[in-house]
Symmetry: C2
Subunit: 344 residues, 2 copies
DNA sequence: CTGAAAGCGCTTACAG
DNA sequence: CTGAAAGCGCTTACAG
C-alpha cells in the first residue's frame, strides 16, 4: 500500500503498449530480443521507444505470468541439513551468488538431516514448481534420489555425494589423506579419528582417505580408534571421551572430520588436563572462519565451500539443458596451525 | 524428465474436472472450501468425489497460476547481513518454520550489511512479487525503509529495530543491563565494552543498556572503554587490542555485544598471556551454541533467536492484514559460565 | 448446487 | 515489421 493506503499496481506490458499505441505482443518481442538491435522483433525505432518507456516506468515483468506461460519458474530449491551449520551457510552463499548471476532465485529449507523431513521439504519445493533441486543432505542409505530420478525431477547433490548422481563436493578422500600425511610427518604414530556420521559421504570419505593414507605410510590404526559421531561440538566431545577411554596408550593426535567436532574435542581434552597443540595434536576439516580465530588456532583441511555452492548451480543448469553431468570434486588444501605444529 | 526422458506434466483442475465430468470451477470451489462439508460450494457427494480424486492423482495447485489470479504469491523475502552469521541463520530457521506452518515460502538473500546490496536484493525480491519483506539488516542511518514505506511495500524488521517501524528483536537494552548487573555483583569495578557496529540497534542498545545500568549501580565507565567494532572474531580481536592499549589500569571484565567478538577477545587475551575467567571476566551476547561448548565456557546473554524469527513472520502476517503493528521485544536471559564465574 | 465466462500478465506461433 | 489470437492454470463474480 502506498501512502494513500492503496496498493501500487505494477506496470504491465499492456500499459506500455497502450502508452506507445502498439500491440502488447510487439512490446514483448522487443523486450525479449536481448541484443542492442531488436533482431527482427520490431523496427529499430520502435524497439528504442519501447525500451525507453520500459526503463522510465520501471517495468519489470511479472514472473508468475511468465512462469505460467513458459512453464519454467527460474527458481531452484535448496535443501540443507541446517543453515545454522556454518559449512552449509557458506555453500549457500555461493549458491545464492551464482543463481542470482544466472537470473535464478533460490529457496532454502532445513531438513535437520532427517530423511522424513527431507522428503517433506522436497515436496514443498516441487509444489512450488522449482525448476530444479540442489540437495545438500544426501544420505548414503536413502532412496529419495531414486524416486526423484523416476519422477524426472532435475537435481544435483552438493556437499555430500552418492555414486551415480551428479554432485559438487570437496575431494574429501584427498582431504583425509592430506591430514594423515601431515600428522605422520610430524612424527605421530598413534592417532584416532572423530569420524562423523556414517550416512554422510563427507564423513566416510574423509575417514577412508585418512586411514588409507595412514596405512600406505606404514601406520597402524585400529577400529577402536575410529569413532563415529555427530558433526557438532557435542559430537566431538563425546567422541573424544570415548577415544580417551578406549585407547591405551592414548593417541598423540586426533583428526576430526569437522571443525565443530574439533572444537568439542578441545573442550574434552581440556577437562582431562590436556592442552591441544602441546599434549595432543588436532586437525579439523573445512577451515571455517573460526578455525584460525580460536585461542589456539586450529589446523584444518580447507574446503572451497563457496566454490562448491557455485559449482552446484552450474551443474544444475547443465542438467536442465539435458547434458549428462559428472560428479565434480574440488581440491582441498591443508592449513597447518598451532594445534598440530609441534614436531614430535 | 521421467525415465523415458519426457517431463512429467502436473495434474490440473481441468484434468480432475474432465475425469469427473464436471466443470473446473466446481472443482476449484470444492478444493477451496476448507471445512469438512463443502459449504455451498457443491453437494456433499460431489465434494467427496473431487477430494478423493485430487488425493488419488496427487493434485497440487499451480502456485504461479494461483498467484497470477489472486495477486498474492504467498512468498516472503528475507534479507540478512549474512546467513553465515549463526545468529541470523538461527533466526531464519524460526522464520522458515513459522512461514511453512502458515503456508508461505521464503527467499533469503545476503546483503553483506552493505546498504547498496541491501537495496539491490530488495528490488530482486520485489521483482519476484513477494507479499512482504523481513529485513534483518536495518541500518540506523539508512533511508531504504522510508522509501519502502512510500512505495507501500509491506515489511517488518527483525533482529535490529528502528524507531517507528514494526520489528521483532531481543530486548537488547535489557540484555546489556543483565550483563552489567552480573559483572558488578561479581565485584568488578573496571570494565570495557566491545560495542559492535554503531549503525546497528543491537550494538547500540546492548551497549547503552550496559552503560546505563553500570552507572545506576554507581560505576564509572569512560568513553575509551567503549570500543566500536565489527561483529565477528576479527572485530573482537582488534577491539580487545585497543582496550588493552588504551585503558590503564586495564579492566578486569569485558562485555562483548556478540559471542563471535567474544571469541576473538579470548584469542587476543591469550596472546597477551591473560586467561579468560581467571585474569579477565568475559560476557558475550546471543548464547550461540558455541558459547557453552568453548574450552572455557563463555557466559552469554541468551537471546531467543528462533522465537524472534517466528515473531517476525507473525508480525508480517498481521501487517498484511492491514493491522497496525507495534515493535515486539523478546526477553533475554543471562547464562553465567566459567568465563565470568569468579568472585573478585 | 453447478456451469460458463472473464481475466490475471505474459509468450509465441501464425498471419498479413 | 506488426497485429491478433490463443492459452498457460487458476479464481471468482454472475447466472440459472
Amino acid at each position: 500500500m502506498n501512502p494513500k493506503g492503496s496498493a501500487e499496481r505494477a506496470v504491465t506490458l499492456k500499459d506500455l503498449a497502450a502508452r506507445l499505441g502498439i500491440h502488447p505482443s510487439t512490446v514483448s518481442r522487443v523486450l525479449h530480443s536481448d541484443s542492442a538491435q531488436a533482431r527482427g522483433a520490431a523496427s529499430a525505432e520502435t524497439a528504442l521507444r519501447v525500451r525507453e518507456l520500459a526503463r522510465e516506468l520501471g517495468y519489470s515483468p511479472d514472473p508468475q505470468a511468465t512462469s505460467l506461460r513458459t512453464r519454467r519458474t527460474r527458481m531452484f530449491g535448496v535443501i540443507v541439513p541446517r543453515l545454522s551449520d556454518l559449512v552449509l551457510a557458506i555453500m549457500y552463499e555461493g549458491i545464492e551468488e551464482a543463481a542470482a548471476e544466472a537470473g535464478y532465485s533460490t529457496f532454502v529449507m532445513n531438513s535437520r538431516d532427517d530423511p522424513e523431513e527431507e522428503r517433506r521439504k522436497t515436496e514443498i519445493m516441487l509444489a512450488r514448481r522449482v525448476d530444479g533441486l540442489i540437495i545438500g543432505d544426501a544420505h548414503l542409505d536413502g532412496n529419495l534420489l531414486h524416486d526423484l530420478t523416476n519422477r524426472g525431477v532435475p537435481f544435483v547433490l552438493m556437499n555430500r555425494r552418492i555414486e551415480g548422481y551428479p554432485s559438487a563436493t570437496c575431494d574429501d578422500a584427498l582431504g583425509g589423506r592430506l591430514a594423515a600425511s601431515h600428522l605422520w610427518e610430524k612424527g605421530h604414530r598413534r592417532v584416532a579419528v572423530i569420524a562423523g556420521e556414517p550416512y554422510a559421504s563427507t564423513a566416510v570419505d574423509r575417514t577412508a582417505g585418512f586411514v588409507d593414507r595412514w596405512r600406505e605410510l606404514g601406520g597402524a590404526i585400529s577400529e577402536d580408534a575410529i569413532v563415529w559421531s555427530r558433526f557438532d561440538t557435542v559430537g566431538g566431545r563425546d567422541a573424544t571421551e570415548k577415544i580417551l577411554h578406549a585407547c591405551a596408550p592414548p593417541p598423540t593426535a586426533l583428526f576430526a572430520v569437522n571443525d565443530f567436532a574439533a572444537i568439542g574435542a578441545i573442550g574434552t581434552l581440556r577437562s582431562h588436563g590436556l592442552q591441544v597443540g602441546r599434549d595432543m595434536a588436532l586437525v579439523g576439516y573445512n577451515d571455517t572462519s573460526l578455525a584460525s580465530q580460536l585461542p589456539i588456532p586450529l589446523s584444518s583441511v580447507h574446503s572451497p565451500m563457496n566454490e562448491i555452492g557455485r559449482t552446484a548451480v552450474q551443474l544444475l543448469r547443465r542438467v536442465l539443458k539435458g547434458e549428462h553431468v559428472q560428479a565434480v570434486q574440488l581440491r582441498p588444501t591443508l592449513c597447518v596451525r598451532e594445534s598440530s605444529a609441534l614436531q614430535l
